[in-house]
């Protein structure tokens, strides 16, 4: 039953993906820019631009361009970047893991903090702990992440000198042998501890800046839902049959509160994969957000399209995963 559901969701995702490619394709072609001109460079002659336009296939009808684009995509050929003249997948290979690593670590810290603080606030409603947690998490949302990032850099890099200000790894540390592209994972797998240590240090500030700017949402959501759940009859029953407070809150309360929390967090994770451009710029993180912005500025169509498609896939996969998690969390849920 549930497998059939997942397959149906998968098929639906493919249709959505097709729609997204069609839309981005049309949009990028509608922008009043000339990618051949942009690619040839400001100094190129009109003939050079024309030659380039032909070689890029930009003189062919739009429909024909779209069909050949889809054909290439099906064989994982993302095309050649106008800017770098290199296959786009070579760029994605570098930038996507960097963003994924940041997003995964952010999500782990974010989920843990949201749930922990949310529960503490919910079991002590109206007490000082509740107020402090709520005030701090709202303050985090109110602080723009670039400003917080600069403050963190000033404190932990400039004044204290504990953490690096920028980059993903100390250039003087040899990067781990590439397996997943995630430095932390590759470093642990190859026992390259200097790289793991350096990667963790470089992650610290961007992770804190990103988490702090989102924590308010997670904490308030968890707190509200937990308060609601803790008021239910079955919680009173659990208390009355003599279970400890810890067991009541975690086994009976949290598990029932998780569904809406996971939906929200899942979608936030997809958004994070889109790259947090501001944090990437402030902390010099070589991620996909900076790559996307750079590509848009230079009208690097193949790169723009590829980033869009990759992110769309990530978003769709996440939403299917979230649905699958529901099934696991609450066996009563049945999909028609």
């Amino acid at each position: 039953m549930s497998w059939r559901f997942l397959i149906a969701r998968g098929a639906w995702a493919v249709i959505v993906l097709l729609g997204i490619t069609a839309m981005t394709f049309c949009l990028t072609r509608l922008i009043p820019g000339d990618p051949a001109r942009a690619a040839a460079g400001p100094e190129a002659s009109a003939e050079a631009v024309e030659t380039l336009r032909k070689s890029m296939g930009l003189d062919r009808p739009l429909a024909a361009q779209y069909v050949s684009y889809l054909r290439d995509l099906a064989s994982f050929n993302f095309g050649r970047s106008i800017q770098t003249q290199r296959p786009v997948h070579e760029d994605l290979d570098v930038y996507l893991p960097a963003t994924a690593e940041l997003a995964v670590v952010v999500m782990i810290v974010y989920t843990a903090c949201s749930i922990a603080f949310g529960i503490i606030a919910a079991v002590n409603p109206g007490r000082p702990g509740d107020y402090v947690i709520r005030a701090l998490s709202v303050a985090g949302v109110a602080l723009p992440s670039f400003w917080l990032g600069m403050l963190l850099q000033f404190a932990f890099y400039r004044q204290l000198g504990w953490l690096p200000a920028t980059g993903r790894l100390d250039p003087l540390v040899s990067p781990p042998v590439r397996m997943t592209g995630l430095y932390l994972v590759d470093g642990v797998m190859t026992a390259n501890w200097p790289a793991v240590w350096s990667a963790a240090g470089h992650l610290a500030l961007p992770v804190v800046a990103t988490v702090a700017s989102r924590l308010g949402v997670g904490v308030k959501l968890t707190r509200t839902i937990m308060l609601e759940v803790l008021g239910e009859d079955y919680i009173r029953t659990a208390h009355s049959k003599g279970l400890s407070g810890f067991l009541v809150v975690y086994r009976h309360g949290l598990k029932n509160a998780l569904i809406p929390i996971i939906t929200t967090l899942g979608m936030q994770f997809s958004a994070l994969l889109g790259g947090t451009v501001i944090v990437e710029v402030v902390f010099g993180w070589p991620g996909i957000g900076r790559y996307a912005v750079g590509s848009i500025k230079t009208l690097d169509f193949p790169a723009i399209m590829s980033v869009t498609v990759v992110l769309a896939v990530a978003f769709l996969v996440m939403s299917v995963l979230v649905d699958a998690l529901y099934l696991w969390l609450d066996p009563r849920i049945k999909y028609q």
Partner: protein, 573 residues
């Protein structure tokens, strides 16, 4: 104090003196902080955390034998003989037949060389990979003798075939750098150390652009894709530094090219570690902490007075002369625009509050007297400076039929600090002559170049430009901004077309006598000034750049883009 003597190619010597704190500190900036104990050790025997890491674990291999030193980090806080630099962009391609923008040149000037080069800090043409050349009397054939025993980074030797392949590749790929070879018909090998370039038409100035045609090794140049894939990611030049390691958007490590033909006296650096740091604030923090010795975002767009940075312990300012001109184009052909009328354009120029530009360049600017900047070929010191005259501006506007003012729009590039501030100053200045200007922000370059190419979509005016010549050929420089063929293309944003200007520039190109050439360029410049297609805002010189005090002998080259550093002359105290 820093004395820079330059000669134009006509031989007239101009001496420019740059006074001030930066120059003075440049010479004696040897104050050291206590942590740098290792610096008293002899040059080569310094074993510090960084050199150790560099030579061993990092595989950055900056010129020290890797086997000889242990690879475990030590706790010593020294920085070795490695120059640490923060740049805001990674060069998205390393191909010298494609790249013509700042991010490319930041790497090329340190790794590649042309047949000729310019003397440090000047417009004097010097031999580089060519030791001598002859020009045929009809100015159509250039013959170059090549320097012997010059090695590429891959160990191969410079010869005529390498030069021919490099030139042919630029011509065939026909992108950015091809502009410098547009007059070239063909290049032939005369003998293994001599090449002959034949031009399409006579040109006395062809040679000036050859400093920007970089010669690469023969390997991969004849690949099926013309070597595009290989050259995009690899560098094989004759320049002082070779790339030892590069991680996209993270860092580029350069090591000494030990057989470099200019040699390696003791004082040069062993290597350069370029970190990609896109944020100006982060670059400044790294400079303040001494993690980097030089940062380029301040050079590109200073966002606070340089004195603020000089207050940071261990940081000094370096002032270098430039040939930069800061100006604001006004579209002279846009249908139904008041700016088609020369009197309106002149009124705008007279209304501009030139004194307020102090907030843009913090006093490191000069009131201009035209287009060609002081020190550059053709600069005419006798030409009167521009100035503000609100009454005259009002009068001109009235004559043009706008006694009650007019509405217009100023396009500015919001990503450039100078442009944003200049826009506000311009808007305020125009208000005083009854002109109501709204500020519009230019779209990103890809979109903008398409807009400006058509008169219907081109903006009424703007955005601002800070232009600087790339070679000593003042004719090409004027032509790119005021030549009829460049209208609507970078950087003739004013759509200015005047056959008289073109005629002077054509005549200058065929003129053998350098002094007569300069006279023709000045005539062209006078015509432009009279037509006022742009407001000349400032000569943006000198450039002031913050560096760590240990950085010695750094000087910005006036033919480079802002934020391009040449590392070869630099040494660390």
């Amino acid at each position: 104090m820093l004395h820079v003597a330059r000669t134009t190619d006509g031989g007239t010597a101009v001496s420019v003196e740059v006074n001030g704190r930066g120059g003075a500190r440049h010479d004696n900036g040897c104050r050291k902080s206590a942590v740098r104990k290792s610096e008293s050790l002899p040059h080569k025997s310094r074993l510090t955390r960084r050199t150790l890491l560099k030579s061993g674990a990092a595989a950055a291999a900056v010129g020290i034998a890797t086997a000889a030193v242990p690879t475990r980090p030590t706790s010593a806080q020294g920085r070795g003989n490695i120059l640490n630099v923060a740049l805001q962009f990674y060069a998205e391609t390393f191909d010298p037949a494609i790249g013509v923008a700042g991010p490319h040149y930041r790497i090329f000037v340190n790794t590649y060389e042309g047949l000729v080069e310019y003397q440090r800090g000047t417009a004097n043409l010097m031999p580089a990979l060519a030791t001598s050349w002859t020009i045929s009397p009809d100015l159509t054939v250039y013959t170059f003798k090549l320097r012997s025993n010059v090695k590429f980074h891959d160990g191969s030797t410079l010869d005529a075939e390498a030069v021919k392949r490099s030139f042919d590749r630029v011509k065939k790929i026909a992108q950015g750098p091809a502009i410098f070879l547009r007059q070239m018909k063909e290049i032939d090998i005369v003998d293994p150390m001599t090449v002959r370039v034949t031009l399409l038409q006579p040109s006395a100035t062809f040679i000036y652009g050859l400093s920007k045609i970089f010669v690469h090794g023969k390997a991969h140049a004849a690949d099926a894709d013309d070597g595009r894939a290989w050259f995009a990611a690899n560098i094989n030049g004759t320049g002082p530094f070779a790339v030892s390691q590069a991680e996209k958007n993270q860092f580029i490590a350069l090591r000494r090219h030990s057989p470099y033909w200019k040699g390696w006296p003791a004082q040069h650096v062993d290597g350069v570690l370029i970190r990609i740091v896109p944020d100006a604030g982060t670059q400044k923090l790294m400079l303040a902490r001494g993690e980097v010795d030089m940062m380029n975002l301040y050079s590109i767009g200073p966002d606070e007075p340089p004195e603020n940075l000089a207050k940071l312990p261990g940081v000094k300012l370096v002032k270098s002369p430039t040939y930069r001109t800061f100006f604001y184009p006004m579209n002279v052909q846009k249908p139904n625009s008041p700016l088609r009328d020369k009197r309106v354009r002149k009124a705008f120029a007279l209304a501009f509050n030139y004194d307020a530009l102090r907030d843009v360049y913090y006093g490191n600017e000069q009131v201009p007297n035209g287009f060609l900047a002081p020190g550059f070929v053709g600069y005419d010191r006798a030409r009167p400076k521009v100035g503000r005259d609100v009454a005259a501006a009002r009068k001109l506007l009235a004559e043009a039929g706008y006694a009650r003012g007019l509405e217009t729009a100023l396009d500015v590039n919001q990503e450039e600090e100078q442009g944003r501030k200049m826009g506000l100053i311009f808007q305020q200045s125009l208000k005083e002559i009854g002109v109501n200007a709204s500020l519009l922000y230019s779209p990103p370059p890809g979109v903008f170049y398409a807009q400006i190419a058509k008169l219907e979509t081109a903006p009424l005016s703007g955005p601002h430009l800070t232009q600087s010549p790339l070679t000593a050929d003042a004719g090409s420089y004027i032509r790119q901004i005021f030549g009829s063929d460049s209208a609507g293309k970078p950087y003739n944003f004013a759509w200015y077309q005047n056959p008289e200007v073109d005629r002077r520039l054509d005549a200058a190109e065929r003129e053998r006598d350098p002094n007569k050439r300069i006279a023709l360029w000045r005539q062209a410049e006078s015509l432009v000034i009279d037509d006022q297609p742009v407001v000349f805002l400032a000569f943006a010189t000198p450039i002031v750049e913050p560096v760590r005090e240990r950085v010695m002998n750094y000087l910005y080259h006036p033919f480079d883009y802002s934020g391009v550093f040449q590392f070869y002359p630099v040494w660390l105290s």
